[in-house]
């Protein structure tokens, strides 16, 4: 497509440098300008050909984009989708369990603290107990040495790798992204993450993925470094819900949605309340404006010609 446009530009420049704007009528009828007419006719045809090749190349580029953009993910009916719908907090709790047991070995969630989970998925005692299981490096003590202590509610969720380079080294050059905001950081994030996690399939005929990568049609390009992590019964849920792949996918996406947008429930309540109140205010304002303007809008002007 770029080549076609470039050729068009060159030809256009050459055409202008020759005879500027030869009228078509004179081009058809003149005999003396036959030589010029012939060459400009060839140029016009070449321009048309360049345009057509440009269009054709554009179409082939478009079809190669299919794998580049990834398969479009469908829209699933999330329970927290509606205008006044809250999160399914039981699902958030299960999703955190899935994250902890399946995902936390590679993915960090460095923006979430244990205290954020209190009142959302766990009680304070449960969250404290969970935090106490991890070891945290804390600031210099009186002797100037760093020391480790059991975690507290105020600590962030633990990171699997010390830094990005270590993460890339351990995962064949690919960096497992931080998941704190992942459903907001990807287009149509919630549906995309669910489709990605549950969408590992055999590649189409003719596509081969190199060693170390796996085929996933939803991932842009199709070759993802993460293997299929969600398998039936990989996790045993505390509340006894059967842990199918789709169930784990749904729960972990609920958890990730909450992690990215913890304010969602309050936001929806506030939004509903204020849109309702402002609509009433709009009606009142409209009435008041029309009331004040009625004086002017109902006046009559008399045009009287004095004889």
């Amino acid at each position: 497509m770029v080549g076609g446009g470039f050729i068009q530009q060159i030809l256009r420049r050459k055409l202008h440098s020759q005879s500027l704007a030869t009228p078509v009528r004179s081009w058809l009828s003149s005999t003396k300008a036959n030589v010029d007419a012939g060459s400009s006719g060839v140029r016009a045809f070449a321009l048309l050909g360049a345009g057509v090749t440009g269009l054709l190349s554009f179409s082939t580029v478009a079809s190669a984009d299919e794998a580049e953009h990834g398969l479009a993910c469908p829209d699933y009916p999330w329970p927290h989708d509606g205008i006044l719908s809250s999160y399914d907090h039981a699902s958030i709790r299960r999703g955190h369990q899935v994250y902890q047991q399946v995902c936390a070995s590679c993915h960090s969630m460095s923006l979430i603290s244990y205290r954020d989970l209190v009142g959302v998925a766990y009680t304070e005692e449960e969250a404290k107990a969970m935090a106490a299981e991890i070891e945290v490096v804390d600031g210099p003590n009186d002797e100037g040495e760093m020391f480790t202590r059991p975690g507290k509610l105020s600590d962030r969720l633990p990171q699997p790798y010390a830094n990005e380079s270590a993460a890339r080294f351990a995962n064949g050059g690919a960096y497992p992204p931080d998941l704190s905001l992942i459903t907001k950081a990807r287009h149509n994030g919630q549906n995309y993450v669910f489709a990605l996690l549950t969408g590992y399939r055999d590649p189409p005929a003719g596509i081969s993925i190199r060693e170390g990568l796996h085929y996933n049609p939803y991932f842009p390009g199709g070759a993802i470094a993460m293997p299929k992590m969600l398998n039936d019964e990989a996790v045993e849920y505390e509340d006894g819900v059967p842990a199918t792949e789709a169930q784990m996918g749904k729960d972990v996406v609920s958890f990730l949605s909450w992690a990215a947008e913890p304010e969602m429930e309050e936001r929806k309540l506030m939004g509903f309340k204020w849109i309702f109140l402002l609509s009433l205010a709009l009606l009142q304002a409209a009435y008041y404006r029309r009331l004040k303007w009625s004086v002017l809008k109902s006046r009559k002007l008399v045009l009287d010609v004095v004889n």
Binding site: S63, E66, A67, L71, A72, C73, P74, D75, Y76, P77, W78, P79, A195, T198, R201, P204, A205, G206, I207, S208, P217, G222, D232, E233, G240, V241, P242, A243, T244, E245, A246, Q247, G249, K250
Partner: protein
């Protein structure tokens, strides 16, 4: 409630959606046949593959939406259903409706 063998609802829905998406599946299989002899490595069937899976995905998400709508319908009916459906997106279970 404990199933000895859990059935993944998404796989189940994908399989049940197969009859609806026969046409793109046949197109994909025709493409596979066409490129079978190819050794250049340039030919592939990504387009037909995407068309087929897009059809399946649409059908699956529609089934889930229909099942979710059914759940809302029963919820408003105050109908204590003995159904124990777990489609992964929601759970229709008697205890849930006992609020």
């Amino acid at each position: 409630m404990a199933d000895d063998e859990v059935v993944d609802p998404k796989k189940y829905l994908e399989e049940s959606c197969n009859p609806k998406c026969v046409k793109p599946l046949l197109e994909y299989q025709a493409c596979v046949k066409r490129i079978q002899g190819d050794d250049s490595g340039q030919k592939h069937c990504t387009g037909q593959y995407f068309d087929y899976w897009q059809c399946i995905d649409k059908c699956v998400s529609f089934s889930w939406i229909m099942a979710f709508a059914l759940h809302i319908f029963f919820f408003f009916l105050q109908f204590d259903t003995e159904m124990n459906l777990d489609f992964g997106i929601f759970r229709l279970h008697p205890s849930y409706l006992q609020n």
